[in-house]
């Protein structure tokens, strides 16, 4: 058996995924629901989706866009606006007489709608913006994100968006399974897209626009597709984030959020889906859980550990990120994917070596 054939590969992948879900179910049964592990898993899954969708744009199509937070905001708001139960609306829209949306959508259609609305906005924004190149595109998308944020805080839109106030009381998830399923399906679709002829066209654009155009790839069309699809998934990510946070507010979706997502993309490797997923979980776990001790003044006996104080966690993070950017600019995975073949190859080498030694004796 030289390599696994396709059928086997699919089977093994499916088995791994099922295994993962069973593991999650088991964990949920046996661990107290208050464990930080679940917070990390939920938020990690959501970030994985958002990061992968940004990677589709920045890593696979070579469009340096910084509008991610704005698109997540649209998704989060769309979801929240359409799912707040009718009886809870007077309480949420307390300054706007209960708002003007007087119906409620079920959760799944609302999530899909969140993606669609975001995609429509993205399509419209993409029309003028995608003509710009590299850093100009970056600053223009960043600008659009800020405009979107101001727009959603506008008092006159209050009956729809509740002005600048919190949206809340919409349905949320409690189990880890939900974000894993939704994010998993979305990431799978993105992977399929990347491996399709569209994906190859995206990569061609990334590597050399002129060459790609010469080969007959319609640049404007493909950039628009990549931008819209990426935003669609950013919107869904935003909806999931709204569910995770249980409340949502426009002022949270600042440029800092985009920077953070971009830095996760870099950590994972620009142009690697598995790298992005891995980096998301690592980043969230570190920032929410493992490195929290850096923020607390700690005493070992009577010795005060130096430097530890509020905010040290963030400085530590920033240093690590700078080191990655400067010295390991390929991130964890570079443009490689974490694949079964590579893993099997890795183990087979070890085994075959031992087998040889065995037969030699």
């Amino acid at each position: 058996m030289e390599h696994l054939n396709n059928k086997q590969k699919i089977l093994i992948t499916a088995a791994l995924i099922i295994g993962l879900f069973i593991l999650l179910l088991v964990l949920e049964q046996f661990l107290p629901s208050s464990s930080m592990l679940f917070v990390v898993l939920k938020k990690g899954a959501i970030y994985a989706l958002v990061v992968v969708s940004m990677n589709l744009l920045n890593g696979f199509t070579g469009l340096f866009s910084l509008g991610q937070a704005g698109f997540m905001l649209i998704g989060a708001y769309t979801y929240a606006i359409f799912t707040i139960p009718v009886e809870a609306r007077p309480m949420v829209y307390q300054y706007f007489n209960g708002g003007i949306v007087k119906f409620t959508l079920p959760v799944i259609p609302a999530i899909i709608l969140a993606g669609i609305v975001t995609a429509i906005f993205a399509y419209l924004i993409g029309l003028p913006v995608l003509r710009l190149k590299s850093d100009y595109l970056a600053i223009a998308t960043l600008g659009f994100a800020e405009i979107i944020r101001a727009f959603f805080q506008w008092d006159k839109l209050g009956p729809i968006t509740n002005g600048s106030n919190l949206l809340k009381l919409y349905p949320v998830f409690h189990s880890v399974i939900f974000p894993f399923t939704v994010a998993g399906i979305c990431i799978a679709i993105i992977v399929l897209l990347i491996n399709s002829s569209y994906g190859r066209a995206f990569k061609a654009i990334r590597d050399d626009e002129i060459a790609a155009e010469a080969m007959g790839i319609n640049l404007a069309h493909h950039k628009q597709i990549s931008f819209t699809i990426s935003s669609f998934f950013a919107g869904i990510g935003g909806a999931l984030l709204a569910m995770f946070q249980t409340t949502v507010q426009a002022s949270a979706f600042r440029a800092t959020m985009t920077y953070e997502i971009l830095l996760i993309v870099v950590i994972g490797g620009i142009g690697s889906v598995t790298g992005s997923c891995l980096a998301s979980f690592l980043f969230i776990a570190c920032s929410e859980w493992w490195l929290r001790f850096l923020d607390n003044t700690t005493y070992i006996g009577s010795f005060k550990v130096p430097l530890l104080a509020t905010g040290f966690r963030k400085v530590f993070f920033a240093v690590v990120i700078m080191i990655i950017v400067l010295f390991y600019n390929r991130g964890i995975m570079g443009t490689n994917e974490f694949s079964l073949d590579a893993l099997i190859e890795f183990f087979r080498k070890r085994f075959s070596k031992r087998r040889k030694e065995d037969s030699a004796t």
């Binding site: 920045n58 340096f64 190149k133 590299s134 600008g143 101001a150 990120i321």
Partner: protein
């Protein structure tokens, strides 16, 4: 007359904030002109200068603290270039920009750590913090000084670029990076000079800005920074008079918009202006025609 009296404060505030944006914008436009890099950390350098002043003036008299702040800011700007941008000179533009975002993240978080996230009160600088009366409306001296000082500094800078050797080298490098290298211009020196000048102006801008708006926070630099960048693009990136004019226009428009009661949109307006100019006239008001923007 009553109309002018009523609306003069908006215009005065706009001119003064415009002058402060202008001093930051020059740093952006010069760095972009030479390295083709949006130095995202420039706004944070401006904020760092504010915090240095807060801490230094607590122990030192102002006549020592002010020059020291300017020197330290210049050193910080120089170090940022050496540590974060120089190693990436050959890397794709996107990597350098990510590095710039990383530096910005680092400076903001460090400031957050040092101050534990609390706002700090900026020291009162005598004379320029005082109130004076301009045509019937009260304002601070710094409001009046800012545009004058800005114009003097810009004139000096333009003279420097036009008549000195290093200025000539800067022009050469911004025209053609590789050829000027072949002509024996030491490119790293030129880039360092650019950052030194940019940081110096940012430090001066920070002194003026925070004398007017007396609270320094770790995120205080990001908005003025972005706006100054928009001003640089608006005026035509690479052009110093363009950046200054753009900054004044943005500062004044912003305050007029606030005066009209559209307070939710004054930040958004700046970005809308950016997008319009990028689409309609990417080379900005004074920019040279160039093909690598669109």
């Amino acid at each position: 007359m009553a109309f002018i009296e009523k609306n003069l404060p908006y215009i005065l505030a706009g001119i003064s904030v415009g002058g402060q944006y202008a001093l930051i914008a020059i740093g952006y436009t010069m760095v972009y002109g030479i390295l083709r890099l949006i130095n995202f950390a420039h706004g944070d350098l401006f904020m760092a200068a504010g915090f240095m002043m807060v801490y230094l003036s607590a122990t030192l008299p102002l006549y020592i603290a002010i020059p020291l702040v300017i020197i330290l800011t210049v050193i910080l700007g120089f170090l940022i270039e050496r540590v974060a941008y120089k190693p990436l000179r050959k890397a794709p533009r996107m990597s350098v920009m990510i590095s710039a975002i990383g530096v910005s993240y680092f400076i903001q978080n460090s400031a957050w750590y040092i101050t534990s996230g609390l706002a700090k009160q900026y020291p009162t600088i005598p004379v320029i913090s005082n109130s004076i009366n301009v045509w019937g409306s009260t304002t601070t001296v710094v409001t009046v000084i800012t545009p004058i000082l800005t114009i003097i500094l810009v004139a000096a800078l333009v003279a420097l670029i036009r008549y000195t050797k290093i200025g000539m080298a800067m022009r050469a490098v911004s025209r053609d990076f590789e050829t000027s290298q072949l002509m024996g211009i030491r490119i790293n020196t030129v880039i360092s000079y650019t950052f030194v000048i940019g940081s110096f102006l940012a430090a001066v801008g920070s002194l003026l800005y925070f004398t007017n708006y007396t609270t320094v926070t770790p995120t205080a630099g990001s908005m003025p920074g972005l706006k100054a960048f928009v001003a640089a693009v608006f005026g035509g990136i690479g052009s110093i008079p363009g950046a200054v004019l753009g900054a004044f226009i943005i500062g004044i428009c912003e305050n007029i918009i606030k005066g009209l009661g559209w307070t939710t949109f004054y930040d958004a307006f700046t970005f809308a202006l950016l997008i319009i100019i990028l689409i309609a006239k990417p080379s900005g008001l004074f920019g040279e025609k160039s093909t690598d923007k669109v």
